[in-house]
Symmetry: C2
């Protein structure tokens, strides 16, 4: 077998292990019975160990070294480069550590679900402590060039550090907080859902599937299920699964979760099929992934033009709902209100939610914040920045799944997603013309096609920053996002 | 690492691969979107190849040889014996063949589902041909001592051959056919479901879950889902999943499928946990597995005593159903009628259904019956033995999933299950006292406990025949089954 063929075969093996892990992860949160948790943890840990031992095989290391000296096309070169990064990282982590981490993560996930349901941080606390301890150990193994937290940030969006995020967040805060204050002072009244009204789950499901289908999500190659925390898993070719949750009192919560996860799903369904089971065939970064979900959720879904199209579908499912017009629904969908839950936050406060998590993670890993002090730290920040008192930890530091999965350093990529989305929209509009007109037409395929060509098709052949620059002509910048929110909300709230 | 530790670790690895295959198989039939089929086939084939290459590792073979000379406890010895059998078989099968077989099976399964839905044998025919060809090749690789079909029969129930089954089936036929004729001539009238009545799926689901729960199935360690063909998968510790299907016109079809699959599920949930991921921790054979499902489905579920307990649950879900008493429901549940569908057949005709499949399989592999001639051969037999004309292949040779999975030689184990179940019931009654009284009490745990002690707990430490003999004091025999049906149906039909 030639080096290139062997490399591809070994890489495919590794990514097949990952795909199975992804599938079992999906199942764990949607289907698995509670008593299956122990075995699930064991199996996931075993798979991680199998994958790890294949990844760290020294023959594979030598193969990568040989291929680094050879001429190849861009895609192959990108695969070699990415596998070098993964190989170097993996050889630093002992196989027992990887297995322990995976096992602890499975248990922490279950504990988090229970703690959140019972609103009992103490149930989660020892598991969170374990995840923090293991993550500190991980940082030690990987080696720390700048600050410990930087090691984690770099893992989720290559090249990003505290030195990049600190000024970025400061800059956002500088313009978002005054905007928020102006909105809070506005006398525009947001209509409320009638308190006595209920929106049956089945009808919500029908409505949301219709919207997702209109976005272009292929249900012949995917599913929509339920889980505590909505997520999307692009498991394997032809099989992309996302989840949502239902609140009978609020159909918008589910709708925007579905648009969000469908946005992720469209990216997965659009990745270059010729490079399945290899890095270059995967999404380029969490930030870019989030740009796709936020694009559909906010920039398409939270507009009057969207509601012109979706209103008949909504009324079909909820014939008793008040006779709102699309402008009213647009207002409801864009209500700005400092509140507790990140995934239901408006576009203005959302990035402040991310900052809370970013600051706390930074404190944990760079300044030794104790796990037991997380709830009070969280609640203090929420009071200071949002002016609201967190009533219990389920509405506070227990709301997100990420820490139970040991995904520290992940949150800031959500903000990057918001920035990328705005920058992509700006360029798309300059090329396709009036976006509102496209949305109103009900045929959203030109926008999906544009994303397919400029983002999805590219897989991971470039870095995230290169991809954004290639698509938009400029390096990533917060400016388009800030202009977008300032313009949109000034109009909505008559500022 | 000592030999024993290494052996256990290698065996566990192999069984973890199998568990993942089992899980993906479950998902394929319950959850997978249609376009995921190609990748699913690839992944299952890849897993089979991974497992096969680990199983056939010559170092593993040497390890087995070394352990065969050592003293060990019964359970360890059983594991070594069983792995020797699997190793010897596997080294005869080239890895490419295993991979091709698995891939073809995935595709055949999809094709079968479509062909059955569309009632179009031609859609399935090329895939079935492929499965037959690959199975012939498999027989060649494994080596044929007696007839080719014997190689397949032995795989599903060790030690059973055409020479065992031919007289067994002849003996059953000799006493079942006269019994059937007498029943057909009886003037007992079986009440019919009112044609206009409909039984909503959700209510059926509730009712069936209640019954399954009363049997002792632990829904905290399992699930019930839907699939074209009901099945049960004991995937991994704490996670046993079965499926059913719903017919709004006939609630009994679903009920008895659920009792059947729950019986399988109880066996899986009762296997010895200390021997997870090794042969001795698995069900001992398909025949014994089927004895557990048939016990609950027929010997418990199809009795007036069962309906005394279940009737209030039934009426709770279907308040508009006729005011039947438990004797009437018992009659409905035990209607004997030569009909088309095996899984819905009564206890008398069931084994004749098996004989049709047995004879056709024997013809395919021992006498060169052509795939294209299967439908006509099937239909001719149904006419001769059952006196009914098969209206289309969905009601005929397309009804079962087995051949699409290449599971030739599997069907006869169903009949063994019926025989074992009757033999176990006879002994259970001699030890626990009046079984009808236990069923009527609504507390069915003494029966489950008896099965736990005498069957489930044993795993695969003995051969199927040894296990039946240890549990009942006699070698497996058709006599208890024949006596059971003759007595039961003489009473029901006043013969």
């Amino acid at each position: 077998m030639g080096d290139k063929v062997e490399f591809t075969s070994r890489v495919n093996d590794l990514y097949k292990f990952s795909a199975i892990q992804g599938h079992l992860g999906w199942d764990q949160e949607t289907m698995m019975p509670a008593k299956g948790a122990k075995a699930r943890g064991d199996i996931l840990a075993w798979l991680a160990a199998q994958r790890h031992s294949k990844l760290t095989d020294s023959e594979f290391g030598e193969l990568i070294t040989r291929l680094e000296g050879q001429e190849s096309d861009d895609y192959f070169t990108a695969n070699v480069r990415e596998m070098r990064r993964k190989y170097d990282e993996a050889v630093k982590l002992p196989v027992e550590f990887v297995s322990e981490f995976t096992k602890a993560r499975s248990q922490a996930l279950i504990a988090w679900q229970e703690a959140r349901k019972d609103n009992d941080f103490a149930k989660f606390s020892p598991h969170l402590q374990k995840m923090v301890d293991l993550t500190r150990k991980r940082i030690e193994y990987l080696g720390c060039e700048y600050t410990p937290y930087d090691v984690l940030l770099d893992e989720y969006e290559i090249g990003m550090t505290v030195n990049d995020y600190d000024p970025l967040f400061a800059g956002l805060k500088e313009r978002l907080v005054p905007l928020l204050n102006k909105i809070m002072a506005s006398d525009v009244v947001i209509p409320k859902l009638p308190a006595e009204m209920s929106f049956p789950v089945d009808a919500q499901e029908q409505f949301c599937q219709k919207v997702s289908h209109a976005m272009g999500f292929d249900f012949g190659a995917g599913r929509m299920d339920r889980s505590t925390h909505p997520f999307c898993a692009g498991i394997w070719p032809g099989d992309t699964r996302f989840t949502t949750r239902f609140d009978e009192k609020d159909p918008f919560s589910c709708l925007y979760a579905v648009m969000h996860e469908s946005g992720h799903g469209l990216y997965e369904q659009g990745l270059p099929a010729d490079y399945n089971y290899s890095p270059v065939g995967m999404a380029v970064s969490l930030g870019v992934h989030e740009s796709q979900s936020r694009f559909w959720e906010n920039q398409i879904g939270r507009t009057a033009s969207f509601w012109k199209v979706a209103m008949p579908w909504f009324k079909e499912q909820f014939p008793d709902c008040p006779d709102w017009d699309s402008e009213t629904l647009d207002l409801i969908a864009n209500e700005v209100k400092p509140d507790f839950i990140r995934v239901e936050a408006d576009e203005i406060t959302y990035n402040l939610h991310i900052m809370v998590r970013y600051e706390i993670e930074k404190m944990i890993f760079n300044d030794g914040l104790k796990v037991e002090d997380i709830p009070s730290t969280w609640n203090t920040m929420m009071e200071e920045w949002f002016g609201i008192i967190v009533p219990d930890d389920s509405m506070g530091c227990l709301q997100d799944i990420h820490w139970s999965m040991g995904a520290f350093g992940y949150f800031p990529t959500y903000t990057l997603g918001n920035l990328y989305a705005a920058q992509l929209l700006q360029t798309m509009a300059s090329q396709l013309g009036d976006i509102d007109q496209i949305i109103s037409s009900g045929d959203w395929s030109p926008m999906l096609d544009w994303m397919r060509t400029n983002v999805h098709d590219k897989g991971s052949v470039m870095s995230p920053a290169e991809l954004i620059e290639a698509a938009t002509g400029s390096a990533p910048s917060p400016e388009p996002f800030l202009r977008y929110v300032e313009e949109k909300y000034s109009k909505l709230y008559k500022l």
